[in-house]
């Protein structure tokens, strides 16, 4: 009865096995559902409900509590601009404005093509490198409004399959919160966190 691919179902079983109670798997399974369809649909939530043996209403109750479960069509690239206190002090609002202006996509919305979604975010833990922006939760620190415009242009043009934090930091970033040491090649392939157990990371050779 599942709408999910066999590999996704296999992963769902593995994830459920990690927890003493099925319901605990709701959050990772919601990410799986997003990875499956690009955003969280009613079908996706019903599927999660079946896996966790709770009602769809209970799933939606959880899903709608957290900001990272996107229940509307979301772009291939989700640009989150931090405008919390530390970023705001150093121009986060201006960066946000530049992203909205350059992309033509206001907060909380997605362009027609389904390429870009834009949102403002509360603190993303990059205060030492403020202002900071994330693309599919991959971080860029020390962003200026001009660099933010360049980032939007680049995403539209280059359309990277994998969004890589080191690459973007190199191209569009400035001061960082702390030294990152050796670069990673892993990155995100959709508007959800790139994390191996959720099947959302694309590895190109590893570290």
């Amino acid at each position: 009865m599942s709408h999910w691919s066999e590999s996704t179902q296999e992963r769902a079983r593995e994830i459920i096995d990690l927890y003493p109670q099925k319901r605990s798997a709701v959050m990772p399974l919601l990410y799986l559902a997003m990875a499956e369809e690009g955003h969280l649909t009613e079908t996706g939530m019903e599927e999660v409900a079946r896996w966790c043996e709770i009602t769809p209403a209970q799933v939606l109750s959880v899903a709608s509590f957290y900001t990272m479960y996107k229940r509307e069509r979301t772009g291939k690239y989700l640009i989150s601009c931090c405008t919390s206190i530390s970023c705001m002090l150093l121009g986060g609002d201006e960066v946000m404005h530049a992203v909205e202006d350059e992309s033509g996509v206001p907060h909380g919305e997605t362009d027609e093509e389904g390429l870009l979604s834009v949102e403002h975010a509360e603190c993303i833990g990059a205060c030492g490198g403020a202002p900071a922006v994330q693309v599919n939760y991959e971080l860029i620190e020390g962003v200026t409004p001009d660099k933010a415009r360049d980032l939007v242009t680049w995403l539209k043009k280059a359309r990277p399959v994998v969004v890589n934090t080191d690459e973007m930091q190199e191209l569009f970033g400035g001061r960082r919160s702390f030294d990152w040491a050796i670069p990673e090649t892993d990155g995100a392939i959709g508007p959800f966190p790139a994390f191996q157990p959720l099947g959302t990371v694309e590895s190109e050779g590893g570290e």
């Binding site: 709770i54 009602t55 769809p56 209403a57 209970q58 109750s61």
Partner: protein, 812 residues
């Protein structure tokens, strides 16, 4: 507290010392001591959540004053509580101002206005002004969240009462909080409505007007309502209700909190089942058939016509040629009158309030180790072997769910398919309809050691009934014998359908019973002689026997009292044929039904809101019903019509009022000695469980019946009742009648595949008793090999009681 002795502690509230029960929550301890602490989210029947924050008070437990929610903090010795301090007042006023900030204040058009805790507590504990000048939250409103309940999210104060109820009381969490923070709202999942049998409770629970009930919306102002306490006859536990009327019209029932039965909860059937009372189809005058057409007439003529023929038959063929079916939907007083009428006026024991789908009369009425509902709370093990309680016994369902979920009882559920309690059961057994005996045998043989171990607990309560029409009454007796043979103490609760069956049996509405749990015998009859004179001492026929007698002509005349065997008897074709064959049928009813249309005379009856009397619930609890309005037209109480009929027949019953009958019952019926209206109206408002003293006269001890399990090849048919069906009262209650399932058959996906059928296909089902077409619903809750047909659905053909069934996809 191990000793069972209550311990008291001393707390100080606003400078006064009080002795309160140790461990009690501060909010109730304060209330019992005369100090009201405001509350919204707190509810005595649900887990405290401490969310609304209006009950916060300044409390010092020795570490300096702190603000704590009174609903979540138990009292402790030496606690000093300040409900009037500046800090407490500031906090409580702030909460009320915050709650009102986004509240629409549309009280003039709100159903809750006038009985609204938010209004009341804004007055008593609020700041008296609002300084909120920003734009309020805005939502589309109202939105229907179920067929019966509408939601206005702007009024909602997010107290978690409705959501908590669905989660922890009714067990169908279909309404939830969505989003978070200031955007938090209550709602349902898209296209998954709050399809709960208990949804109406959320309307009563709601401390504002956010949840309103379709059948009541905008129909009355609370201060105009007339109210009486009564009991619902849509539930065998007889949950206590308040009947609310506006301008002589019943506009709603509300649940009354009592420890004995329903804790204040009601099923939606019990809550909204009042529209039939005002149905335009209700009979308001006696009808006599003339030249094939019913004509309204006056009582004198109707009584003459009805009684003369009954008298004639009795004189020509004797009492055995007459019979009575029904009486399970009325009061005990009416049932007593009917019982006396049958024996004294008609001279027959052919009388039955059951319709061929019940346990044996002696098992129902004579189980001496009968459990009370309250015993469920202390049970170590609860066995439910019988109907799906959620469908047929909603109050028991809630109580068993609570015992299993909250109170630690081990629940064993046995039923041919999924039931509403499976999720809280520690063991669920299914069996194919008709093979109940095999399962009893298997248990006895030790095939399910965990179940047997559970049944060997110290304190076992077994709820036993007929799970499937194919089971018949004897599987239940075998189950009872099995339970009783185990090690510990076991108490049984035999289940009956139709609300006052138990009361009717206690009044003798069975072929082998006399009032007060006395068997029909020389001795039993002898005891009655002083009151009833000479009556037949040989048991008569039950409903099936009566119907057969009508067909064979041995029975010529029939009195139907609030019974609809053509719809309700498991083999309707037999009932139809019998009524067709009957020479003379008289009916007492609210409506013309498929059965009463066979009557020559129909006498218009009253509903329970129109008469006084008592009823006896499934555990034997007698409670008082109260009238709130006169019946329409020329309707009369049953006892009065029966008394008139008896008079005309020439065997007066001497009945003068319902209360007088009640006194006669307490004299005549041994189990009812001491039960008076006075007692029920004053000292025992939640009722008394009979017998008050002494032993039942029947003392029925079920013994294991030899198994005669038969194996069916192919599919087995499971027929059982659902909450909403085509019953007469429901059919005339528009808000509920549309909730019936209709002609459907539920089939396991494997069987659907084997039948080459897809959902929505029409299946033709054939049994020895009938055949019909049913829309197929694929259902994983029905085991492979079993097909489930809900009984008495509008538009459905009845299939009888045999479990053998043939199924095939019907031609389009």
């Amino acid at each position: 507290m191990t000793s069972g002795q209550p311990e008291f502690v001393t707390i100080t509230i606003d400078g006064r010392e009080h002795q309160v029960l140790s461990g009690e929550m501060l909010i109730t301890a304060a209330e019992d001591s005369g100090t009201y602490i405001p509350r919204f989210c707190w509810h005595p029947r649900m887990t405290p959540v401490g969310m609304c924050r209006v009950c916060i008070v300044e409390v010092d437990t020795g570490r300096g004053p702190a603000l704590i929610p009174a609903c979540m903090n138990p009292v402790s010795d030496g606690m000093v509580v300040a409900t009037q301090s500046d800090v407490t007042k500031k906090a409580q006023e702030a909460v009320l101002e915050f709650l009102l900030a986004n509240h629409p204040l549309d009280c003039p058009v709100c159903d809750k206005g006038g009985e609204c805790p938010l209004q009341d507590q804004a007055l008593s504990h609020g700041p008296g002004e609002s300084r909120f000048v920003e734009i309020k939250r805005n939502y589309e409103k109202p939105i229907p969240i179920s067929d019966l309940v509408l939601l206005d999210r702007e009024r909602c104060i997010l107290c978690d009462r409705c959501t908590r109820f669905s989660r922890e009381i009714s067990g169908d969490p279909l309404i939830e909080f969505f989003d978070r923070g200031n955007k938090t709202q209550v709602n349902t999942f898209p296209d998954h409505p709050f399809a709960s049998y208990f949804s109406g409770n959320t309307v009563q629970l709601c401390p504002v007007g956010a949840l309103t009930a379709g059948p009541y919306r905008f129909r009355a102002r609370p201060w105009d309502l007339l109210k009486v306490v009564s009991s619902s006859l849509f539930d065998t536990a007889h949950p206590r209700i308040e009947v609310h009327a506006s301008q002589n019209e019943i506009v709603r029932y509300t649940g009354v909190d009592n420890d004995a039965t329903n804790h204040g909860w009601l099923s939606d059937k019990a809550r909204f089942g009042f529209e039939y009372i005002h149905s335009e189809d209700r009979l308001g005058a006696p009808l006599v058939r003339r030249k094939g057409v019913y004509e309204a007439t006056d009582w004198a003529e109707a009584i003459d016509v009805a009684a003369d023929r009954l008298g004639l038959i009795r004189d020509e063929s004797g009492g055995d040629a007459l019979a009575v079916i029904g009486g399970a939907h009325g009061t005990n007083e009416d049932a007593y009158a009917l019982s006396k009428f049958a024996r004294v006026a008609l001279g027959t024991n052919n009388v039955d309030c059951r319709l061929g789908d019940s346990l044996s009369s002696h098992f129902l009425a004579g189980t001496v180790d009968r459990a009370t509902i309250g015993q469920l709370d202390d049970a170590d093990t609860i066995l439910v072997w019988g109907p799906d309680l959620k469908e047929e016994h909603p109050t028991l369902y809630l109580r068993v769910r609570r015992a299993a979920q909250e109170l630690g009882a081990e629940l064993v559920v046995v039923h041919p398919r999924a039931t509403g309690l499976d999720d809280v059961a520690f063991r669920k057994l299914t069996y194919r309809p008709g093979e109940g005996f095999d399962l009893v045998q298997a248990l006895d043989d030790g095939r399910y050691p965990d179940v047997i171990e559970a049944l060997d607990a110290d304190n076992v309560v077994a709820l036993i009934g007929i799970a499937s029409h194919a089971d018949g009454p004897h599987v239940a007796e075998a189950v009872a014998a099995l339970v009783r043979a185990r090690r510990g103490r076991s108490d049984l609760l035999p289940l009956n359908s139709r609300a006052n069956t138990y009361g009717a049996l206690d009044m003798g509405l069975a072929p082998d019973l006399l009032p007060g749990r006395v068997g029909v015998s020389q001795e039993g009859v002898g005891r009655l002689r002083d009151h009833w004179g000479e009556v037949p001492s040989v048991p008569g026929r039950d409903t099936a026997g009566i119907l057969e007698g009508l067909i064979s002509g041995e029975i010529r005349g029939l009195l139907l009292v609030g019974a609809d065997p053509v719809r309700d008897f498991p083999i309707p074709a037999l009932a139809e044929e019998a009524l067709e064959a009957a020479e003379w049928v008289v009916a007492i009813d609210l409506f013309i039904t498929d059965s009463t249309r066979h009557a020559e005379v129909i006498l218009p009856a009253e509903t329970f809101t129109e008469k006084e009397g008592t009823v006896t619930n499934v555990e034997g609890r007698v409670q008082k019903l109260n009238n709130i309005r006169p019946g329409p037209g020329q309707t009369r109480p049953d006892w009065a019509m029966l008394d008139d009929l008896a008079h005309r027949i020439g065997a007066p019953l001497g009945l003068s009022s319902a209360e007088a009958i009640s006194k006669e019952i307490s004299t005549v019926a041994p189990a009812y000695v001491g039960v008076s209206w006075d007692l029920l109206e004053w000292e025992a408002r939640d009722g008394v469980v009979v017998p008050l003293e002494g032993e039942s006269q029947l003392a029925h001890i079920p013994v294991a019946v030899a198994t005669d399990g038969k194996r069916e090849n192919g599919l087995s048919l499971h027929v059982a009742r659902t909450m909403y069906d085509d019953g007469v009262r429901l059919r005339h209650s528009p808000s509920l009648s549309r909730l019936a399932l209709g002609p459907v058959v539920l089939v396991n996906p494997l069987d659907a595949t084997a039948l080459d059928a897809v959902p929505g296909d029409s299946l033709r089902l054939v049994t020895v008793s009938g055949e019909g077409r049913f829309e197929m619903v694929v259902d994983e809750g029905t085991p492979a090999g079993t097909v489930y047909v809900p009984f008495n659905q509008p538009g459905a053909t009845a299939l009888g009681i045999d479990s053998a069934v043939e199924a095939e996809v019907a031609d389009a």
